[in-house]
């Protein structure tokens, strides 16, 4: 049994799995049920001036019959009075002193508003604060959420105001609805953030009903853009975490989220630099009980790898993530088809023929039996065939030894530059 406990900028929790600020953390009843089930921490549903919600609010994408591949909502921050939330936070922390309880906050971009709410929530014993600069709908129209979160200066300013009074660690939650998340992440760091978390939801319109022509979801026939999350957003979230993790001026811990559904994604986020993860959609889909496999699976993974503590995973893959210009141009892989495993669906053939480099041949053996073979010399190693192949292990991407030593684009450009400046006649 490995040590699963983490310490994120001074916020300790017995395991790296926190509930993200969202419907599952709406009340003391829910958060306490989650803690009973084993969750290591929870970020309370965002507190602020009470708002009004609409009905309906959620929609999801089914992908080829699998429900909730992606999830979307047009819900706002908490619709319960602040006093009620504060009372329940107090009770919850008292019952579960070993768990991380973080208050998510969102108020108008005014110094006194931030000071006021920070003091109130810290008075009831939270372990940390998470500033919601991410919500993409409803609050943004009022200058809050992602409206502040998209402007680095506003992120820095508000973080600074919070830090003026905060006694507990401050996490700034970032919106992905921005061209370069490291800009706002850096602003948060400049404002004094102790940690950053990402991603909040991505602007989205889930669909249009083919019969009524209503947007999905709709409120009395009308819709508005919502926030996208769930398994489908993991690659976007993982990239943003990794970009921040490898950024030299973003040196604070990261709480990663967006599509974490099992222990596996948690491992990925942590390897890419997150100190812990937060989860919303998977719990909305299956309930708090998913934590059991998350802990069990993570434990077995660590044991199997001989890793004593989960924090030893943090950032281990970050150095492997760099810019395109730093990739070795002379490294080459090619597809190889295992005819014993191949079921002859020809999916790889047509993919390569119509959408890649026409280098799979359809051949017949001596007995007249059809088989496929990759012309390795022509294969560019794009992976497409192995991606569409339905049989595990039927197509392997094998490394082709290169005659040339490794050279990146940047090295190549530098070399050409040197050549040019030497004024050598290369013709």
């Amino acid at each position: 049994m490995a040590d699963l406990s983490i310490n994120l900028a001074g916020i300790k929790s017995p395991n790296p799995f926190w509930l993200a600020s969202a419907p599952p953390t709406n009340s003391g009843y829910q958060v306490q049920r989650a803690f009973e089930a084993g969750w290591g921490g929870a970020v309370w549903k965002t507190l602020g001036e009470p708002i009004l919600n609409v009905s309906s609010r959620f929609a999801a994408i089914s992908f080829n019959g699998q429900r909730v591949a992606g999830f979307n909502n047009i819900e706002l921050i908490t619709d319960r009075p602040l006093e009620v939330n504060l009372k329940e936070i107090y009770e919850t922390k008292k019952r579960f002193p070993d768990r991380a309880l973080v208050a998510s906050l969102m108020v108008e971009p005014k110094r006194e508003k931030w000071h006021e709410i920070v003091k109130k929530v810290e008075a009831v014993g939270v372990d940390g604060l998470e500033l919601n600069f991410g919500c993409p709908h409803g609050m943004a129209e009022r200058g809050m959420g992602s409206a502040s979160g998209q402007v680095p200066a506003l992120v820095e300013q508000q973080t600074y105001w919070v830090k003026e009074v905060a006694q507990t660690p401050v996490i700034v939650k970032l919106t992905p609805n921005i061209t370069d998340i490291t800009a706002t992440a850096e602003a948060a760091v400049k404002g004094g953030a102790d940690a950053i978390s990402m991603i909040n939801t991505i602007n989205s319109l889930m669909g249009v009903d083919l019969d009524t022509w209503n947007p999905i979801p709709h409120v009395a026939g009308k819709g508005a853009h919502g926030g996208y999350c769930g398994p489908a957003v993991k690659p976007i979230a993982l990239n943003m975490v990794a970009e921040c993790a490898r950024h030299p001026r973003i040196h604070v811990p990261i709480s990663g989220m967006g599509g974490v559904s099992s222990w596996k994604e948690a491992v990925e986020f942590m390897l890419m630099g997150a100190t812990g993860v937060q989860v919303c959609t998977a719990v909305m889909h299956h309930g708090f009980r998913i934590i059991e496999d998350m802990l069990d699976g993570l434990n077995h993974y660590l044991d199997e790898k001989g890793i004593a503590s989960v924090i030893d995973l943090v950032g281990k893959s970050v150095h492997k993530y760099s810019d395109w210009g730093d990739l070795d141009l002379n490294y080459k892989v090619a597809a190889r088809i295992d005819t014993d495993k191949c079921i002859n669906c020809n999916k790889c053939y047509i993919a390569c023929e119509d959408a890649s480099h026409q280098c799979i041949d359809r051949l017949k053996d001596a007995g007249g039996k059809e088989y496929l073979k990759v012309r390795e010399a022509d294969c560019v190693g794009c992976n497409l065939c192995s991606i569409v192949c339905p049989v595990d292990g039927a197509i392997e991407m094998v490394e082709v030894p290169s005659e040339h030593p490794p050279m990146t684009w940047n090295e190549r450009q530098a070399a050409i530059g040197v050549l040019a400046s030497c004024n050598i006649d290369t013709k």
Binding site: Q66, S262, W263, K264, H286, G287, R289, I290, E292, D293, D296, G297, H300, Y301, V391, D392
Partner: protein, 450 residues
């Protein structure tokens, strides 16, 4: 099934192949992960089915195997022999919309992984200084031992056979349940420090009295005994077999070719009869007939077993009872004299009583007769323990599994009453677990009152 007469061993290989990785992943992802799932309630051992399936989907195979084996110490065997249509799969909510999840196959997939990887799944509890003797290392005895060891008891199992596992090791045909599966489960129990003394028959090598004196509690988990006598003429002839002994030979000795080309008659229509018949087919018998004195409706074998036997080419003769077994001068079976039956009024166990039709006698040619009309009870041993019983079925108090001697508990087939359909491995396993908890309660409260 294609029977090889040259390579009999091939015929005894497991009939159903395990799921491939892809099949397992696709099936696991099809499970809805129901809350308070009906499949769990339909599993006698209450395995958290959605949880173990979710773990297959997430790639946590060790966790999956652990979830299974925690609830069911013989979960790898059960994955193969449980009548899942009647249990978990029969209750799956997807019966109503698409098709039920292949729970048994997924359970096998996860436990096969644990077997292959020699995973250590459980640890013994801190020793509490108390001792329990268990008589019989079948599913019931092993389950009780596993749970008692996890709590912290010093457990000794006495097993008459040379190997542990009970009917899982010796009685259920290899092509449904290979021995190595059962022996792996035995090993899991041994790893917890349980002392399994094989080749020791209680009542002969060690007395009941000794156990009662030396241990704080005793569990009687001896199952049932031999197949009873038919009580007809010719039963002693050469070529008449007890089905359980017959199957045991195929699981313990090199396969014999003495059945190749033979005509086999199996008497009875339960699990054992089906196993005896399909075993005969696989040993190369030319023709195998099952005689049953009632009809298909009353037979206790499950539909899937019946289908399986039919696939194997086994013929069924309903409403047919043996009257006499006839042999030649050298004492070898040649024929069975049969009589046709008809069903009369229902008897005590609710099934219609079969009655012979006078003058309907006829002969069936046979070289081999396999008796599979149920099992007798370990009466002598039960008497030696001096506990109350009903015709060899040990009486226990409700869910406490305590016999008339408060120190003696009983579980598994030894308490399986008549007319209860077919005895199942999974029920024996659950009773074993509950017996362990009952003993723990008994010994703890005893301690407190002292």
């Amino acid at each position: 099934m294609n029977i090889s007469l040259l390579d009999l061993k091939k015929n005894f290989q497991e009939v159903t192949a395990g799921l491939t990785d892809r099949e397992a992943i696709e099936e696991a992802n099809r499970c809805l992960y129901c809350y308070d799932a009906p499949c769990v309630k339909a599993c006698p051992t209450g395995i958290d089915i959605p949880a173990f399936i979710k773990k297959i989907a997430s790639g946590n195979l060790k966790g999956s195997a652990k979830t299974i084996m925690l609830s069911n110490p013989v979960g790898a065997s059960c994955a193969r022999v449980c009548p899942t249509e009647e249990l978990c799969e029969g209750a799956c909510v997807l019966n109503h919309s698409t098709k039920p999840i292949k729970i048994g196959h997924l359970q096998r997939y996860a436990t096969d992984w644990a077997m292959r990887n020699d995973a250590v799944l459980f640890q013994a509890g801190k020793k509490n200084g108390k001792t329990v003797a268990i008589v019989g290392a079948g599913p019931a005895g092993l389950s009780a031992a596993r749970e008692l060891a996890r709590i912290g008891y010093d457990v000794t199992i006495f097993e008459a056979q040379q190997e542990a596992g009970g009917l899982n090791t010796f009685g259920i045909v290899s092509f449904r349940l290979p021995r190595h599966v059962s022996l792996w489960e035995v090993n899991q129990v041994k790893r917890l420090g349980v002392d399994i003394r094989t080749g020791v028959k209680v009542g002969k090598d060690v007395t009941a009295q000794e156990l009662l004196e030396q241990y704080d509690a005793v569990v009687l988990a001896v199952g049932m005994s031999k197949v009873p006598m038919l009580g007809i003429e010719g039963e002693e002839l050469d070529g008449v077999y007890d089905a359980i002994e017959f199957i045991k030979e195929t699981k313990t000795k090199p396969l014999t070719n003495r059945f190749v080309g033979k005509k086999v008659v199996v008497i009875g229509a339960g699990n054992t009869a089906i196993d005896g018949a399909t075993c005969s087919v696989r040993l190369g018998a030319e023709n195998v007939k099952i005689l049953y004195r009632r009809t298909k409706e009353e037979m206790t074998a499950y539909d899937f077993e019946y289908e399986f036997a039919k696939q194997d080419g086994v013929e069924f003769r309903w409403l047919t009872a043996p009257k006499r077994i006839i042999g030649d001068e050298s004492g070898k079976v040649t024929h069975v004299e049969c009589v046709r039956m008809q069903l009369g009024a229902p008897d005590q166990d609710g099934r219609r009583r079969p009655m012979p039709i006078e003058g309907s006698e006829f002969f069936i040619r046979a070289d081999v007769v396999i008796k599979a009309i149920g099992q007798t009870r370990h009466l002598d041993l039960i008497k030696e323990f001096g506990i109350e019983h009903d015709g060899g079925v040990v009486k226990v108090i409700g869910a406490h599994y305590q016999t008339s001697n408060p120190k003696v508990f009983a579980c598994g087939d030894v308490i399986f009453g008549k007319g209860g359909g077919e005895a199942m491995v999974v029920t024996a396993a659950q009773q074993g677990k509950e017996t362990a908890y009952a003993i723990h309660r008994y010994l703890t409260t005893l301690n407190e009152t002292l």
